[in-house]
């Protein structure tokens, strides 16, 4: 039994503990040490997560590198890890983003330059921030690797706590005196929403266990359960299955977030630091959509199909609604948040379209949205930290004084609007085509989203970056080396995965096919498939659909 997965989860966890335990102090050197230690751990995690993805054999078993240790025998709970293509890719995304976020947040947790008289500035602020980020990373990676429903649930819920402290404890410097109140409101809202979702899921988890136990399967092991569901050994029964599905889905839909459960996201992303906002939208929220794919579909195939149309409608509303609200925003970070809501609509739509294109697209979308939104948000954060305001109206003409910043911001925006050649296009198109092939009307309406996306992304760019240079913006420095080091890998990945996403699709496709067979769905066949002789490319490489059927 390989311990690679455990190691991948453990390294950031150990890193969190070590970082938290590093000596406190207000000296710059001590803070720097903390940051470096944390970053080293996150990079080590990246290496391990990369090794996991590299060792994953797309032609092999559904779950690989599996490990299983007895944990709570009384409830059939194991510490069972295993990776499929989807989990491997998403864990890798997490591992890529965390070092970037750490680097981007390098000074976000530094104490205020001149703490007011008599204030009790926490001397462990820096340690706390970096440790919390690593803790989130560890928990998220466990969630992606968990093949035990309970284990997943535990970390799904537990990650709320470090996230909560990250949101509430470390805001950006842009806020006025109101900001502390706003921030704690945002943190509480985040926690309560997600906790409510989690508790509802808890009821469903318990229900699942009780039903399984009644039928002689007192286990939370995902593979056992899904296999039992598939071959009829576990029959949950119509109403119960629907109720359990809704219980699970509710939690995931809050986290994802799906309209109309989204209202915590703009607050949280608006008030948190840019790095934390990235962590929320690019990493933590992905656990929700990931879980829909793995747990909702795997455990409750019939209910998933029953509710798919309703969920598609909600996600469709989310796509349009999020985009329209993004257009109406005055605050840069809230705009990005609403844009994310729109994107999550796409992801969920792809999942519940129940086609391989839709689900592969949704998985890629999770990755690509993570990378591109990270780039967009982090550059926005750099911008905001320079001017000390989140209001769009406070900017203008930035490209004149800080062209590189403006350029990277534009690339982030273009990625968000799914420009071909950048990664999000690949996933968005797959989702659209996957949805369209089963639900044409839904696909067409969703396509409107691409127009709206262009509108909010370019409006934001136009209002902040172009036009005459505003007085307050004059003299704004361009991106520094550290900031470039943050943005460059993200931009490079965005381009690379836009042009050559095959490594990811190769990892993801088998797992998606396995998921689809769990729900007993196959892709709709073309009405008039092209004949096979058209399907072969000149140099013999497989090219079009005909021969794959």
């Amino acid at each position: 039994m390989s311990v690679l997965l455990t190691a991948t989860c453990a390294v950031p966890a150990v890193g969190a503990v070590v970082t938290a335990a590093l000596p406190a102090g207000s000296t710059e050197a001590r803070r720097r040490n903390t940051k470096i230690v944390a970053t080293v751990f996150s990079v080590a995690t990246l290496a391990l997560a990369g090794a996991v993805a590299a060792r994953f054999d797309p032609d092999g078993a559904r779950y690989q590198l599996t490990e299983s240790y007895s944990w709570i025998r009384s409830f059939g709970i194991t510490f069972a890890l295993g990776v499929d293509g989807i989990g491997a890719v998403l864990a890798l995304l997490t591992a890529v983003l965390v070092p970037v976020v750490l680097l981007a947040s390098w000074h976000d947790a530094d104490p205020a330059v001149a703490p007011p008289e008599g204030s009790f500035e926490n001397r462990r602020r820096t340690q706390a921030f970096f440790a919390l980020v690593l803790a989130v990373e560890a928990m998220v990676i466990v969630s992606f690797y968990a093949t035990d429903v309970f284990l997943f649930y535990v970390f799904f819920e537990a990650m709320l706590i470090p996230m909560y402290f990250l949101i509430g404890g470390f805001g950006d410097r842009a806020g006025g005196p109101e900001s502390a109140r706003q921030r704690s409101y945002a943190a509480v809202k985040f926690l309560l929403y997600n906790l409510l979702g989690g508790l509802v899921m808890l009821a469903a988890v318990i229900g699942l266990y009780v039903i399984a136990q009644d039928q002689g399967l007192g286990t939370f092991d995902l593979q056992t359960l899904t296999a039992a569901v598939a071959d009829g050994r576990l029959q949950i029964g119509g109403t119960a299955e629907k109720a359990l599905f809704l219980g699970f889905f509710f939690a995931f839909a809050v986290k994802a977030p799906l309209w109309p459960l989204h209202t915590w996201l703009p607050n949280a992303m608006g008030e948190a630091t840019a790095g934390t906002a990235v962590l929320i939208t690019a990493v933590v929220d992905k656990v929700g959509t990931f879980a829909m794919l793995r747990f909702c579909l795997g455990l409750f195939p019939d209910a998933s199909k029953t509710f798919a149309p309703a969920i598609l409608v909600l996600s469709l509303i989310g796509i349009v609604y999020g985009a329209l609200l993004a257009i109406g925003q005055k605050d840069i970070k809230r705009l990005v948040a609403y844009a994310s809501i729109s994107h999550f609509g796409f992801i969920i739509m792809g999942i519940f379209a129940m086609t391989s294109q839709g689900q592969s697209g949704a998985t890629l979308y999770m990755v690509n949205h993570g990378i591109s939104t990270a780039a967009w948000m982090l550059v926005a954060g750099f911008l905001i930290s320079r001017r000390g305001s989140r209001l769009i109206a406070d900017y203008g003409g930035v490209q004149k004084v800080a062209p590189v910043l403006a350029g990277t911001f534009l690339i982030g925006g273009l990625a968000t609007l799914s420009l071909p050649g950048l990664a999000p296009f690949v996933s968005e198109f797959l989702v659209l085509v996957g949805t369209f092939s089963r639900y044409p009307a839904v696909g067409i309406v969703a396509t409107f989203g691409i127009v709206l996306a262009a509108l909010y992304a370019l409006l934001l760019y136009q209002r902040t970056m172009t036009g005459p240079v505003k007085e307050e913006v004059r003299g704004m420095p361009d991106l520094k080396v550290r900031e470039l080091a943050v943005v460059a890998p993200l931009v490079a990945l965005t381009v690379l995965l836009g042009v050559y996403p095959k490594p990811l699709t190769d990892l993801v496709n088998p797992s998606v096919n396995a998921t689809l067979s769990q729900v007993h769905q196959t892709d709709p066949t073309p009405a008039h498939p092209v004949s096979a002789d058209h399907g072969t490319a000149q140099d013999g490489t497989a090219r079009s659909g005909g021969e794959h059927k």
Binding site: P260, T263, Y321, L324, L325, I327, G328, Q329, S356, Q357, S360, G361, K400, L414, P420, G421, F425, V426, F429, L430, L432, V433, F436, G443, I444, T447, F448, V451, A454, L455, L458, L459, Q462, T466, G467, V469, V499, Y500, P501, K502, T505, N509, D523, P526, A527, H528, P529, V530, G535, A537, Q538, D539, T541, A542, R543, S544, G545, G546, H548, K549
Partner: protein, 631 residues
């Protein structure tokens, strides 16, 4: 040889990447590098062309598969190229005109501090446009399609400090996005219908699909074409796009990118041929736009906007021709190429004029420039003659063929279309004559610029005039060359097919009618503008003139129908989100809080109240227990 195809795209792409990432290092010589790479691409194009000429007409399709792009089960998108005669034509046009305009820009942008970036964007455009025309499937075409949109966005808004430029850029992108939506839906339809969206398989299987499906695909493709080629109803962005530097207008918004719609429809001929209703829609759009653009062109005082109207109108001709099916495809492309020459030349001329006139664009502030800018005058004049269809020049041959084809459609339809094209030809002559007269003839109406400098018109530098001269050659001779032995038709026929149609009129009659219309337009224009002084301040004008100045109220329409309700909706939703959804959640929390503070009052601190609650509880418990039994 096939391996040269990717290099066509790669050369300018490398230029763009180098110039953008290379930083200051390329400030000094980057523009020459970009020009060289454009020329290199042109060289590759020529090499491929000569290779192609060496083959049989039926064996001229070159393909090159690079790698699998997006493989998901049935959905297989490849980075894979196909170069046939149609693509070849475009490749040569794009790289040829592109190289010339690079050269022109060296002079035109000489003093711009962000010149390096300008050339990077130009190279990016070339790469995207070449990708568009050499793609072997619709998704890769879409890649190039949006790529040119991006380049267009970047270049229209190149002078970002001008709010108008930034707005125009955004507008162009978003209107194009509406069209792009059509293209993506078309691709999805193809995938659902055929399980593929590569040209060859789709065209091969098109016959098996129902006409309704094909019509749907065709209409969606038309929507895409409307966006990119500024056809009604998605035409509104082109006039504003003139905010970009003039070389951009010449290359992107006249010669190449805006004609991508024509390419798309021609390329998809196999689909349109089987979907007559979609074809009808195409010709209607073409006919409406050719008149629309022409009318707008008549009213504009801004030289670039007048030319933009003209571009719209000329593309209307092409779209109309493409909508005619095999009767017109080849002529649509032929007009596209000749238009590429003369319209690029006209824009470069306009740029040259502006260059000499302190960037003045209002023709009412020009006048009598022929003496000061002789080269510009001559090249512009040749372009003018070409566009109005002066016999023997390029435009004469290509436009005449389109008008013939329109009549050849046959029946009432043919008559209507033919008459539309004739009217279009006449109006073209009218507004182009107007441009000519206002700019180069008559007395000086020069005005000092914003800083009070009087203009000192002068001829432009060599880097600018040489491209103009080369393009003028094209404007004069290309048409004749193409028409000679119908060489162009023969060249394209393997790809587009050709039918003669049944024209009620003989070609000679059509030619005479066309020439007559052209002369009438010129004459009317001369009567209106050539014989009396042109007022510096535009007269109030007729309602039609005023509407035409406002682009026939297209922006007002869009504003009233889309923008204002849209922003109202966004604002309403913002309100709903914070008051409705969030209000509900906060209200829930408040309710719990309210219930809590009300319930708290029971805990009033009096021990006897507590005892009472216990006693009451006991009674209820006892009663319930007893009741449970009796039920």
């Amino acid at each position: 040889m096939n391996s040269l195809i990717p290099l066509l795209v790669a050369a300018p792409l490398a230029g763009a990447v180098l110039l953008l990432l290379g930083g200051r290092a390329f400030d000094r010589l980057g523009h020459w590098l970009a020009t060289a790479l454009a020329a290199l691409s042109f060289g590759f194009g020529l090499a491929l062309f000569s290779d192609m000429l060496g083959r049989d007409a039926e064996d001229r399709t070159l393909t090159q598969h690079l790698f699998s792009w997006i493989p998901v089960n049935g959905f297989q998108a490849d980075i894979s190229f196909q170069l046939d005669q149609l693509s070849m034509t475009f490749v040569l046009l794009i790289t040829g005109v592109g190289t010339l305009i690079h050269l022109y820009s060296v002079g035109y942008m000489a003093h711009d501090e962000r010149r390096r970036r300008f050339f990077a964007y130009l190279n990016l455009f070339l790469a995207a446009m070449l990708l568009l025309v050499v793609a072997d499937n619709y998704l890769l075409l879409y890649f190039g399609w949006e790529g040119v949109g991006l380049a267009s966005y970047l270049l229209i808004g190149f002078w970002q400090h001008k709010p108008s430029a930034a707005t125009a850029a955004k507008k162009a992108f978003i209107v194009n996005r509406v069209g792009d939506m059509g293209l993506s839906i078309a691709i999805m339809l193809m995938f659902v219908e055929f399980g593929s969206f590569a040209f060859e398989p789709v065209f091969g299987a098109a016959g098996s699909a129902s006409e309704g499906k094909l019509t749907a695909i065709g209409l969606m493709l038309l929507l895409a074409a409307c966006g990119k080629s500024a056809q009604v109803p998605l035409q509104s962005w082109l006039g504003d796009a003139m905010e970009g530097p003039t070389p951009v207008s010449a290359l992107i918004h006249a010669a190449t990118m805006v004609t991508a719609g024509v390419y798309l429809i021609t390329r998809s001929g196999a689909i349109f041929n089987l979907a007559p209703d979609a074809q009808t829609a195409v010709v209607v759009v073409g006919a409406v736009t050719l008149l629309f653009g022409a009318i707008v062109g008549c009213a504009k005082d801004d030289i670039k906007k007048a030319l933009a109207g003209s571009t719209m109108s000329q593309i209307g001709f092409m779209i109309l021709a493409a909508g005619l099916g095999p009767i017109g495809y080849a002529f649509a492309i032929m007009h596209l190429v000749t238009h590429g020459f003369f319209k690029a030349g006209l824009f470069l001329g306009a740029g040259s004029v502006m260059h000499g006139m302190n960037d003045e664009v209002n023709m009412r502030h020009y006048g009598g420039l022929r003496k000061y800018m002789p080269v510009t005058f001559v090249t512009f004049g040749l372009g003018y003659l070409a566009i109005i269809g002066f016999p023997g020049l390029s435009g004469f041959f290509s436009k005449d063929k389109i008008i013939e084809a329109a009549f050849a459609k046959g029946g009432t339809e043919g008559w209507i279309l033919g008459l539309c094209t004739l009217v279009g030809a006449a109006v073209t002559a009218f507004y182009m004559t107007r441009v000519m007269i206002l700019t180069f003839f008559g007395e000086k109406r020069w005005q000092p610029d914003a800083e009070g400098h009087d203009p000192h018109p002068h001829e432009s530098p060599k880097t600018m005039t040489v491209p103009m001269i080369v393009l003028a050659f094209g404007s004069v001779f290309a048409g004749g060359l193409f028409a000679f032995h119908e060489s162009f038709l023969t060249w394209l026929e393997p790809v587009t097919g050709h039918e003669e149609g049944n024209s009620p009129l003989t070609p000679l009659v059509v030619t005479l009618l066309t020439t007559a219309c052209m002369l009438a337009g010129v004459a009317l224009s001369y009567l209106m503008y050539g014989r009396s002084a042109v007022p510096v301040v535009p007269p109030y004008g007729s309602p039609l003139t005023r509407a035409a100045r406002r682009d026939l109220l297209q922006d007002d329409f869009n504003h009233a129908v889309l923008v204002r309700p849209g922003s109202a909706l966004a604002a309403a939703l913002v309100y709903f989100d914070s008051r409705g959804l969030d209000g509900f959640v906060n209200g829930l929390a408040a309710t719990i809080g309210g219930v809590s503070s009300r319930l708290r009052r029971i805990q009033n601190g009096y021990v006897r109240t507590y005892a009472l609650s216990m006693f009451g509880g006991t009674l209820v418990l006892v009663a319930t227990t007893l009741l449970m039994r009796s039920v």
